[in-house]
């Protein structure tokens, strides 16, 4: 996989290059700001661009650069990294795109396996969301409709909010994909959301938008 990096912290940037190379990826560019990354993506084929959210151009250069890359090269995957897991950043990420995109905490990708899994899922067209953030989003107040979900349905919703496919959810929870479909249908019915199983990213967006609305109304 051909990867380009923009990160203003020199130590983290160098560590990421070593980890990517150890995982067998080719690092085609490694820069400290968004504008330089955009120049690389404009001239080189890049499968995934990895961007620190808080870097030049300030304040959130990673987000503005990701927007520009998505407009210029829609097929290039985007992985946004941050020290913070913020719902606001997540909503911005989802506004940039609902396919081939990810948002993860920096220290959580510090392993060849997890980094490879994150990049593979992004290039496969999925959304990858930091699990801790997805978990926080499904922790609803007692009077929320989310409180009507069973424990297993909440597990499915949490994994759905991470951007996982039905098959991946089934594997994680040791149940059949059919059972996941059944739980998904129950979730959508209880939350009054359309349960279109074929449009994965719209489903995630709907779930996140709903959860966000819950927080606002609550």
């Amino acid at each position: 996989m051909r990867v380009a990096i923009a990160e203003d912290g020199a130590l983290f940037r160098e560590g990421l290059v070593l980890l990517l190379e150890a995982a067998g990826h080719e690092v085609v560019g490694c820069v400290a700001d968004g504008d330089s990354l955009l120049k690389i993506v404009a001239t080189e084929p890049v499968d995934v661009a990895i961007l620190d959210i808080r870097m030049p151009p300030e304040p959130d250069g990673g987000l503005t650069t990701a927007e520009r890359i998505r407009a210029l090269r829609p097929d290039t995957g985007l992985l946004l990294l941050s020290h913070y897991a913020e719902t606001h950043y997540l909503m911005r990420v989802l506004e940039i795109g609902a396919e081939r995109i990810g948002y993860r905490l920096k220290e959580r990708i510090a392993g060849v396996q997890v980094l490879a899994d994150t990049l593979d899922r992004i290039t496969a067209g999925e959304i990858v969301i930091e699990p801790a953030l997805a978990k926080r989003l499904v922790q609803a107040p007692a009077d929320s409709p989310l409180a009507t979900l069973s424990e297993r349905e909440l597990d499915v919703l949490r994994l759905m909010a991470e951007g996982r496919t039905n098959n991946a959810i089934a594997k994680e929870l040791y149940v059949s994909p059919k059972a996941v479909e059944k739980h998904s249908a129950a979730i959508f019915a209880k939350l009054a959301l359309p349960g279109d199983q074929t449009v994965h990213h719209r489903r995630v967006l709907a779930v996140l938008a709903y959860l966000r609305a819950q927080k606002i109304d609550g």
Partner: protein, 154 residues
């Protein structure tokens, strides 16, 4: 000053620790015996918990989205983490940088004193003289509490 402290934490200790996590990930991959690998993974787990603690301190010092995104996302972020039910009534136009920062910190510091499950209403008006009204209802408390403040901003 709190904004500078958060930035120092973010660009200094937090950045170094994230880089250290990558280094440990690399060493773990190169480890040849399972015992060493397990010890490195345990160290990585401890480091991640320390970074989590730093993240909490950074957010409490200065909410990371207050400057870039504004008052509302910053307050919602704190309420979400502390499991508070927030109702906001904010000026339509975003406050100037100083007013936003001072108002944000005033409210955030109050939110940090409330127990999970509390309901909070926040009303903000004015630009040079910012008037803040906070009403909170905490579980188990006899009734709502009302707080008012006026901030003179440049």
């Amino acid at each position: 000053m709190r904004c500078d402290l958060e930035r120092t934490l973010h660009d200094g200790a937090a950045a170094d620790m994230s880089a250290l996590a990558l280094e440990l990930g690399l060493i773990s991959m190169a480890a040849e015996d399972p015992d060493t690998e397990a010890r490195i993974d345990a160290a990585l787990g401890m480091l991640r918990r320390t970074i989590d603690d730093l993240r909490g301190i950074g957010s409490a010092l200065y909410p990371p989205v207050l400057v870039s995104a504004g008052l509302e996302p910053a307050l919602r972020s704190v309420a979400e983490r502390r499991d508070l039910r927030l109702r906001l009534d904010l000026p339509r136009r975003e406050l100037g940088m100083e007013a936003r920062s001072r108002t944000g910190l005033l409210v955030v510091d109050h939110l940090h004193t409330l127990c999970p499950g509390s309901a909070v209403r926040i009303r903000v008006r004015g630009r040079r003289f910012v008037r803040v009204r906070i009403t909170d209802e905490q579980p188990g408390w006899p009734g709502p509490r009302h707080h008012r403040a006026v901030l003179r901003c440049a």
